[in-house]
């Protein structure tokens, strides 16, 4: 399959890329890793008139830690995250999700910014970023703005990004002492989209009480789904069996999966229930140290 014809632009600077997006707006699509965009173009699900290839903007490929925040450039490849000591040491939840995304060849090109900006509820990073409370930085013709991840996913394949904006950075607060995170993904085969995925991140205090909780789901809702009511049950609890059961029950009831090749609605709800239990148990055990 060959994609439909388009005009190809390969800007060498961020400024140049932004001016192209400003000029072409909705008619342009940004090409980063390309592993969602090119398949969609082959299937004619996307037919942009202009492709703005941002792969030369290597200034957007970085991972660094500063004052308790991890800063990740939008064009950072999955493989760079996988090989990053900072990610392994500081963000175990992110480190756990990486090998579950697609396969090694795809991770060589695919970017974290693209994974988020695509707004696909089947992608794995969105739930992880919801659980970690990340902030997205977008740059447009009028400068930079920050968007909290809770406000980022607006609708099916729709994010808060404007057509003229580039997702330039992801900021993730380093979880404090006494934190733990876990991602559980059920997939039909290695590299597939999740039948269901669950990201859990919790922090406990000296007495073992939960002081903060992040819980979010992959591919069982029209957008990446943050289980706010489940988080509320966890905070203040001892993350005991009862609290975990209750949160997992809420996750399973409140999500809205569709009946498709990956399973029936009933099956997916049952999987969300069990995966949420497992993710929370593992996250809690890690947090307790």
């Amino acid at each position: 399959m060959i994609p439909p014809a388009f005009d190809y632009h390969a800007p060498q600077t961020l400024e140049e890329a932004l001016s192209l997006l400003d000029e072409y707006g909705d008619d342009a699509k940004i090409l980063s890793g390309g592993h969602s965009l090119i398949p969609m173009m082959k299937l004619r699900l996307a037919q942009p008139e202009h492709i703005v290839d941002i792969n030369a903007l290597t200034e957007l490929e970085y991972i660094r830690e500063e004052n308790g925040v991890i800063y990740i450039g939008g064009l950072t490849r999955e493989v760079a995250l996988e090989e990053s000591d900072i990610i392994h040491a500081r963000l175990p939840l992110v480190s756990e999700v990486l090998p579950l995304i697609a396969d090694p060849q795809v991770r060589n090109l695919a970017t974290i910014g693209g994974n988020l900006a695509h707004g696909d509820p089947g992608n794995d990073h969105p739930a992880v970023m919801l659980a970690l409370g990340a902030t997205i930085v977008a740059q447009g013709p009028e400068g930079k703005r920050s968007i909290h991840i809770n406000d980022f996913f607006e609708d099916f394949y729709m994010t808060a990004l404007e057509p003229e904006e580039i997702l330039t950075e992801i900021q993730i607060p380093v979880p404090p002492q006494g934190s733990g995170g876990s991602y559980k993904k059920l997939e039909r085969k290695v590299g597939d989209y999740a039948v269901a995925g669950v990201a859990a991140q919790v922090t406990v205090d000296g007495s073992g009480a939960c002081t903060s909780a992040g819980l979010a789901l992959t591919n069982v809702h029209y957008i990446p789904f943050k289980v706010t009511d489940g988080e509320d049950v966890l905070v203040g609890s001892k993350l005991d069996k009862e609290a975990i059961e209750k949160a997992a029950g809420i996750a399973s009831e409140q999500c809205d999966p569709s009946n498709d090749l990956r399973g029936s609605v009933e099956y997916k709800r049952a999987m969300v229930l069990e995966l949420t239990r497992r993710a929370l148990r593992d996250a809690a055990n890690q947090a307790r140290g």
Binding site: M1, I2, P3, P4, A5, F6, D7, Y8, H9, A10, L31, G34, H35, I38, P39, K42, I51, D53, N55, V79, P99, A102, D103, P104, Q105, V106, N108, L109, V190, G191
Partner: protein, 162 residues
Amino acid sequence: MKTKEITVHVNGTPHTKEVSTRLLLVHFIRDDLDMTGTHIGCDTSNCGACTILLDGKSIKSCTVLAVQADGKQVTTIEGMANGAQFHPIQEGFHEEHGLQCGFCTPGMIMRAAELLEKNPNPTEEEIRWGISGNLCRCTGYQNIVKAIQYAAEKMSTEAETA
């Protein structure tokens, strides 16, 4: 601007061509350069048959545009042997019966090349995860793993004696 002149260095040789911007890298390699060792399997970035090295990284060439390879180094299966002498990975596939129909083999070998470059002594599990983006529909994985283990051993022995 629906065409662009690109120069791609394939197995060390620069090739300059005017190509359609929508041309996929795999078609550039197979149709424009007549190098048909790189296969097209699923055409959806699932099967890994089209795996090549782009600036040393294994990628699926059915999901990359030819224009994205402008100015870059491409290594295909044709670039692996040294004249009549097999690359150790090719030798491994030969010695360990690592192929049956052979369709997935070029992709498997190119993926194994980067895997062994990064991790010269992989465990069996690391090899299996390492080739998780490559499908063998003959299901000949046991011997593919053995072939890569053979190559790892041969390459480390060669590195020691060099």
